[in-house]
Amino acid sequence: MFSKGTKRKFSDGGEELPEEGLPGSNEELSSVSYSLQRQSLLDMSLIKLQLCHMLVEPNLCRSVLIANTVRQIQEEMTHDGSWQAATMMEAFAAASAAGSGAAGPPERLVATEVLCRPGREMNGSPTAEPKLFSVMGYEECREEEVVAVEEDSICSEAASNVCLSGSMGHCWERGMLRGERELDSRLGAPDEDVDVEEEDEEEEDDNELEGCREEGEAKAMRQVFGTFEIKNSHPGPESALEELFSDVDASYYDLDTMLTGMQAAPKIGPYDLLDSLSQSHTPSSLSSASNCRSDLNELDHIMEIIVGS
């Protein structure tokens, strides 16, 4: 709760301080507190939008006003360049943390979904590309899954439709490319130093992500949904699966069917994959067939990556 409304232009920052009685450099501190207030307002707004009343249709006027407010904040944050500063700082922190071996706060794209209900007034299918803060969530509120994976994971099959992010089109593309690169490199060379790779690629990512505004939303999502994070963004579950399977032996499918007795569906969704992988891990279901050994090793490796040690 704040005693003052948030001012958009911070030209009169000095005047605001005496009430708070902050010592030190007035301008610096007041700009920090303004950023914090603004960030907090953004978080609050995103939470408001995400909480749909499950029984009654949400108030369209209220949703539109909140959405416009979020847009304003995003625009200002981009304009200020504070968005860029925030992402770079995070990356730096993450890089140093990764270098020390700890799994620090990662600098990565956070994708999560708005959990809502499908409605009649859907204009087209759920878009794969997030747009400048959209109204998609207003009337229909679609149900889209959130997948939690470890930060070290490369298998980010989470449906990555970020309803509430800024103009993320170009960011998504870059993220996808980066994801592919990492995926290929990880699967092809499991012995490489993963941490070093992460670090290098993270620094590259920062530059690519300069224009992205997702940091604020990332924090908001974290608050709302917990730490649901994916290392890389992906445009959709299917292409991620394809990448995942591209280096995997086709005999995997047979193994899977044999081990789990699953009815083989033509398409395996992300959850089926995880289920089957975890099932294949249980000792009781291990077959003694020798040709499964190598597959199991590979499965082990993949499983490790997905679930984390």
Binding site: G5, L55, C61, V64, L65, N68, S134, V135
Partner: protein, 434 residues
């Protein structure tokens, strides 16, 4: 300036929150709608020698269930039965007609009195049981006998399935044949006799819903010119449209917007500029708009700024962030004119309501609460302390109860009688002179 009102009556209408209040054209009837879909109509007592003090009291005249909760199976959503608006039709015969609407459906109700009943039927008993035809030996003419007054309400028209979004306004046209209904994105024109068709006259829905940034918040027909209506938006603008210009009035005839004051710009500027109510003056020359912190009076001939601005609760400007957090910033306050257009009234928090005299520029804050006033007590003006030392009888901003909000008020069309809805209570105040 009118005299400080004296409270005449306070009625607890029901368990549900009152969602709309409206006097009819003569002021003899006062209708309230509530969140439970009920309509309660009060009637003013006539002067009588036996009870001279009863003049001006409003007593319950009729109660009926207007709307029921519905379920939209396609969307898996409930449709609330809450009555959003009631509008009376001008009286043309002994019966009274009103329009009531919830989010999706508008209904025309006929309220009629029955104070006689026929007695002496040939084919049935007084109980209503059919008589054996063979027993009937003579014929008689039924006679009308007086009975206790019974007020019946019956739905005469149901105007449904015309609105995809939530209806926020209905307004009867001056031709008394048509009316408009407005939802968040569209305005439809109806004929009172025709329920299966309506004309869409305004549509601001963008082709791509993701580009939506503005919604319709209120609409009203001009009191005299049946071709003119206005609608307000969430961006603080008002558009006046002329139906003669075209079938679809997407292009306005006049556009009213006050330029923003750059020094007070904040992230909440747009939200607090959103207009929650628009009302034409009785004369038809002015209109009044209510946004979150103020009431503005506009001259229809001047589009670039209002002619008068009244601050309702400016002390809330520094609390906007908190009010945003608890959603109070989205409260939709209504406003109303008095019969002569010399005064305006609107509600606030803590069960306060404000009245402004346009001629003297004086204003007053009053409170609608049981605790502070006994029946027939004279209301004491209230004051909110904005800073510094709080005087006696003043209330500080932080002590205001934001759950007690007065969103709906109505002013008698001819006299200084006002109706104020505070949650589920209806307060009726009257000038002391009476």
């Amino acid at each position: 300036m009118f005299v400080i009102p004296m409270k005449v009556s306070c009625q607890t209408v029901g368990a549900d929150i009152i969602s709309t209040v409206e006097f009819n054209y003569t002021g003899d009837l006062l209708a309230t709608g509530d969140k439970g879909g009920r309509v309660v109509i009060f009637q003013r007592e006539q002067e009588s020698k036996n009870r001279p003090l009863s003049r001006g009291e409003y007593n319950v005249y009729s109660t009926f269930q207007s709307h029921e909760p519905e379920f939209d199976y396609l969307k898996s959503l409930e449709i609330e039965e809450k009555i959003n608006k009631i509008r009376w039709l001008p009286q043309q015969n002994a019966a009274h007609f009103l329009l009531s609407t919830n989010d999706k459906t508008i209904k025309l109700w006929k309220i009629s009195e029955r104070d006689k009943r026929a007695e002496g039927y040939n084919l049935k008993d007084e109980d209503g049981r059919l008589r054996d035809p063979f027993r009937i030996t003579s014929l008689r003419v039924p006679v009308l006998m007086p009975m206790d007054l019974m007020v019946e309400a019956s739905p005469r028209r149901i105007f449904a399935n015309a609105h995809t979004y939530h209806i926020n306004s209905i307004s009867v046209n001056s031709d008394h044949e048509t009316y408009l209904s407005a939802d968040d994105l569209r305005i439809n024109l109806w004929h009172l006799e025709i329920t299966d068709r309506s004309f869409n006259i305004v549509d601001i829905k963008p082709a791509n819903m993701e580009e939506l940034t503005e919604v319709i918040t209120a609409a009203e027909c001009h009191p005299h010119q049946c071709n003119v209506f206005v609608y307000s938006s969430s961006k603080g603008t008002i558009r006046l449209c002329d139906m003669r210009a075209g079938a679809l009035c997407d292009r306005h005839s006049k556009f009213f917007e006050e330029p923003e004051d750059p020094s007070s710009r904040s992230f909440f500027s747009e939200i607090i500029s959103s207009i929650s109510d628009v009302k034409f003056s009785h004369s038809g020359r002015y209109m009044m708009t209510r946004d979150y912190l103020s009431v503005k009076v506009w001259d229809l001939n001047m589009e670039n700024r209002p002619v008068e601005t009244y601050q309702v609760h400016e002390y809330l400007r520094s609390k906007l962030c908190s009010l945003y957090e608890n959603d109070c910033i989205f409260d939709k306050f209504e406003c109303c004119w008095n019969g002569s257009d010399s005064a305006i009234m609107t509600g606030s928090y803590n069960n306060f309501f404000r009245m402004f005299d346009r001629n003297t520029r004086r204003d007053i804050t009053l409170e609608a609460s049981r605790e502070n006033s006994k029946p027939r007590a004279i209301l004491k003006p209230r004051k909110v302390c904005t800073g510094g030392k709080r005087k006696k009888d003043e209330i500080s901003v932080d002590s205001l109860d934001f759950n007690k909000k007065i969103l709906h008020t109505a002013w008698h069309p001819k006299e200084n009688v006002i109706a104020v809805a505070a949650t589920n209570n209806l307060y009726i105040f009257q000038d002391k002179i009476n």
